[in-house]
Each structure stands twice: as C-alpha cells, then as structure tokens.
C-alpha cells in the first residue's frame, strides 16, 4: 500500500512535468506555472495549518514580503533576484516568528483573525511606504534574459522549470517534515495541545518552527511570482484574495495532506484563469463563486476535502479486502 502511494506521487509529478511539452500552448503553460506556484503555496500553508492546526489567513503577507524583498534589492541595488529570494525567505521567516509568537497565545479562531489583521497591516504599510514606491508598485527593470537574471522573455518553459523545481522542493520538504519528528509533533499539537505538552513537546517552539518554514517557502514563491509577472504592487502580492485562495484550494483538496494542495490548485487555478480569459474583467470573482460552491458541496460529505473522499473510498476497499481474506 505504501509503495503504491509513493508511486502515485511520482506519477503526478511526472505528468505535471511532461504536460507543457505535449501541449505547447502559451496560455496553457501560463496556467501550469500559476498552478505550480499556488500548489506550492498550499503545501507551505499546509505545514502550519494542516499539520500544526494553526489557521493562518495571512499568508499573503509572506508572499508579498518575498516578492518585495527580491524586487527592491534588484531595483535599487542590482542584486540578483536569486540572492534577493534568499533574503526574502529569511526576512519572511523572521517577521513570521516575531508576529506569530505573541499570536500563538491565541487559540483557534482568534489566531486566524490575528493573522488576517497582521497581513492587512503589512499591506497598508507597503501601500503608504514611499521607499518601495507605495501604491504605484514597481516595474522590474527588463534585463537580458537568462538564469542569472531570473528573467525570460522568449519562452515560458524556463519559468515552468523553475516553478516545477520549487514546487517539487516544497512537496518533498513537506513530506520530509511529515515523516519525521517535526511532523508527528505538529500533528500532536493540532490534535491536543495538552497531550502534546505531556509528551514533552515544546508546543510554542514547534509552532514557531512550522510558521518559519512555511513563511520561508511562501516568500520564495513570492519572488518567483514577481519575476514571472515582472511587476508588483501591494494590491497584487498582499491582497486578502491570495491568502484566501491558498486556504480555499487546500481545504478543497484536503487539508493536512500532501495531495490536497495539488488537487485543489488543479481545480482552482484553471477555473480562475479560464473564466478570466473567457469573460474578461466582467468575470472577476466568478471563479471564487464556483469554487465556494464546490467547497460547500464537498464539505457536506467529507470535511477532509477531495483527498478525504478518496481515502474514504479506498478504506472501504481495504476493509472489503480484509473481510474477503478473513472469509477465505
């Protein structure tokens, strides 16, 4: 059973990898890149919320910090976005630790509300901060394309490859965390704070670790997004919409599961991009209406999302096999 599961993940990753080559359409490739970014964001969010049970509605803050750090360093100091990306990840980690440490005293919904508020505060700071060009945003200077400059103009394939590499890295990091001490500790904290303490787990410290790892990955994907779009403003990289999309796609796919964000992003991203392509500006928000309805329908049957439904089915299959074995 375990081996089959490992192979399913490998198969999914392989299919994603060959898709842009068998269907060479720029629009499709664009959707794939966004899919990879958002699936990666879902995976990072999963570490703090799916594993550790600390609901964050403010991940756009770290996404934006990642995007802004690399962009500012490139725009003002001509520092390679790759180095900027690392600084962004470190900065997002530090900020996440500083703001979430006091918030960890809050439980459940209150923590979620605090993260929401903090993300909005950070957005407002960027809107009125002249040094980072405020609400006007920054157009990233176009330079020669290439890996070093993290800019590609003639093809989307390099962006796809980078997004794919980041996505795979996040998936394996999440998987590694899940399989080891940290994953067990985070899940223990999620299921019972007190039981976790009685087992010798420093709950605050582990929540902090989870938040920092999650924020760092989110920031890295923020840099990628900025380098891909080549323009950022606070309303693009800090909006509540991004925080919500991360939450919604993971919830639809299956919270706390590696597959959840992949499934969720595979539904949400094509949905929002195609409605946007088909309906233009008037289609704004329709994707979320459809998506919301989907979540409601699925949550009625299985609170653990699509992956929960699949597991339910396979568990039924398992028990029938066991019964058959017992009978024979």
């Amino acid at each position: 059973m375990k081996r089959i599961r490992g192979n399913i993940l490998a198969l999914i990753l392989l299919i994603i990898f060959i898709l842009p080559f068998i269907y060479p359409n720029n629009n499709f490739r664009h959707i794939l890149i966004l899919f990879l970014i958002f699936a990666g964001l879902g995976e990072s969010w999963n570490i703090i919320t799916g594993f550790a049970g600390q609901t964050s509605f403010g991940h756009a803050a770290f996404f934006g910090i990642g995007a802004y750090t690399s962009t500012i360093l490139f725009y003002k100091f001509h520092l390679s976005p790759w180095i900027g990306m690392i600084f962004g990840a470190i900065l997002a980690s530090i900020i996440s630790a500083v703001v979430s440490y006091p918030c960890f005293k809050l439980k459940g919904h209150y923590f979620a509300i605090a993260t929401l508020a903090i993300a909005e505060i950070i957005k407002q700071i960027f809107v009125s901060w002249d040094y980072v060009e405020g609400a006007t945003g920054i157009s990233i200077p176009i330079v020669e394309e290439g890996v070093v400059n993290f800019q590609f103009h003639s093809s989307k394939i390099p962006y796809f490859l980078i997004a794919y590499a980041f996505f795979v890295a996040v998936v394996f990091a999440a998987k590694f965390i899940e399989k080891n001490r940290m994953g067990y500790y985070l899940k223990a904290i999620r299921d019972s704070h007190e039981a976790a303490e009685a087992l010798g787990i420093n709950t605050t410290l582990y929540k902090l670790y989870a938040m920092m790892v999650s924020a760092a990955f989110t920031a890295i994907l923020g840099t990628l997004y900025a380098q891909y779009i080549l323009y950022i403003d606070p309303f693009m990289v800090f909006p509540l919409e991004i925080s919500m999309k991360i939450v919604l796609l993971t919830v639809l796919g299956g919270i706390g599961s590696i597959y959840g964000p992949i499934i969720g992003a595979a539904v949400l991203i094509p949905l929002s991009e195609y409605t946007r392509i088909l309906l233009g500006g008037t289609g704004k928000g329709i994707d979320l209406i459809i998506f919301g309805a989907l979540i409601v329908i699925i949550a009625c049957y299985e609170p653990n999302g699509i992956i929960g439904l699949i597991k339910q089915r396979s568990r039924k299959g398992d028990t029938s096999v066991e019964k058959a074995e017992a009978l024979s």
Binding site: Y185, R190, D191, E194, E197, A198
Partner: protein, 247 residues
C-alpha cells in the same frame, strides 16, 4: 532511607477566591505506588495539574529528583522523566494508534527508527500491538485509556501519574489495569495514582494520601486509611458517620 522521587511542599492553588489545594505536602519515594484519593472536588486533578506544570501553583514548591520544578512548563517536566495521563482521554484523533505512541517515543529517540522500536515495544507491553493501525478516534474507551498510558510510556518516564485510568472499566479490565500497574512498578517506574475504585488500588498501594476540600487529611498505608475516622467522615459525611458510630 529510600530515595525521594517527588516531593511537594505546602502547595496551594487558588482560582480567584476558590481554594482548590491548600498547603498540600507529601513525598513519593522511588519504586513506590502511591494513591491519591478523595471525594469529588477534593482537588486531586488540580494537584496533578500543579505538579505537571499545567497550572502554576499559587504558592509552595514541587521537587522532582531534588530539582525544583515549580511553575516549569509541562514539556520540560516530561523530559525530566515525570509525566501524566489525563482523566478525560486526549487521543491524537487523526493519527493511528502506532503514530500516537510514536509521537511520544520521539522524545528519547535519536531518529525515526529508534522511535519505532520504542513504540512497538510499548505497544506490545500495553497489548495494543494488534490495533496499531487503527485510527485513535475509533478505539473503545478501554483502549483509549490504554493508549493514553502507552503514549506516555513511550517517553520513557521515571515516574508516571495516572489520573483515573480505571474509571469506566469493567471488572476484567480493571484487573488487567492493576496488573499493568504492577508490571510498571517491576520495570522501575514510580507511580502516583488518582483513583475512585478502592478495591482495585488499595491492595497495590504502598501508601495512600487522602485529600478533602483541597487539604490533605490523611496519609498512610491502606489498612490504616480505611479505618481512619477523618477519611470515613469525608466520604460518608458527618451525619452518617455519627449514625454508624451509634449502631
């Protein structure tokens, strides 16, 4: 002179004006089984919480193996080797039985492989090995209580505090639980047990401590305690005690 494991010095716990524990002092020696009994609301669970760091005592001191642990966070106390079960079981619901125990095992294990070895050993000891792949939330109450114990045993404690592990069990299950306590003692673990089922714990206890309304009213070997006037009064009430004297 036996080695002291746990010692309490005048522990007092207040919630606003309500005094839950008042000047409670006692010692537990290495290898002993000590029972903590008392009527409902006597402050047994509060005292447990004060010892294990879930509450910070209002005043008084708690020592474990000579180290003062008053007001330490629970996880630190657990890593010293003193841990507890919860009266209201807290299984890690979305994990399997084995993963529950594995979580505890990580405390003293260097890596996952070592943790798995500890977990399997504990699962066999607590007779949960056959059920290791079941989700913790779908266990029966007896097995949930076993799991509660298994999980903390995986942290390799030196002393375990059991909070009503036998409540709600039938007589066969109680017997098994008692045997488990004896086996724990043989393996060198000191036990402090809160329990209501007297016939189960009286025979295995070295000493019994009685709490009533937050105060320690008696301490001694089980035979002494069952004949102690104060204790009978606390359990039966003044009036009935008086009646029993007349007749």
């Amino acid at each position: 002179m036996k080695k002291q494991k746990l010692s309490l010095e005048k522990v007092t716990m207040k919630f606003g004006n309500l005094v839950a524990n008042e000047d409670v002092s006692f010692e537990v020696n290495e290898g002993e089984i000590v029972s903590l009994i008392g009527p409902n609301g006597a402050g047994k669970t509060t005292l447990f919480n004060c010892i294990t760091g879930f509450y910070k005592p209002f005043s008084g001191r708690v020592y474990f193996e000579g180290i003062e642990i008053t007001g330490w966070p629970p996880y630190k106390i657990t890593s010293l080797g003193l841990t507890r079960t919860f009266q209201i079981v807290k299984p890690l619901k979305e994990m399997t039985v084995r993963d529950n125990v594995l979580t505890g095992a990580f405390l003293k294990a260097k890596n996952r492989k070592e943790a798995e070895e500890i977990a399997d050993e504990v699962l066999k000891f607590t007779q949960l090995y056959e059920k290791r792949n079941i989700l913790a939330s779908s266990l029966t109450i007896v097995d949930k209580k076993r799991l509660e114990l298994a999980r903390i045993l995986a942290t390799k404690p030196k002393m375990v505090m059991l909070d009503e592990v036998m409540a709600g069990l039938n007589s066969t299950e109680i017997k098994q639980a008692v045997e488990m306590c004896m086996k724990l003692r043989e393996s060198g673990i000191t036990l402090l047990i809160v329990e209501h089922i007297m016939e189960a714990i009286m025979p295995i206890s070295d000493r019994v401590i009685v709490l009533n309304a937050g105060r320690k009213i008696a301490e001694g070997p089980p035979q002494e305690i069952v004949n102690n006037e104060e204790v009978i009064k606390a359990y039966l009430g003044e009036r009935y005690h008086a009646k029993s004297k007349k007749s």
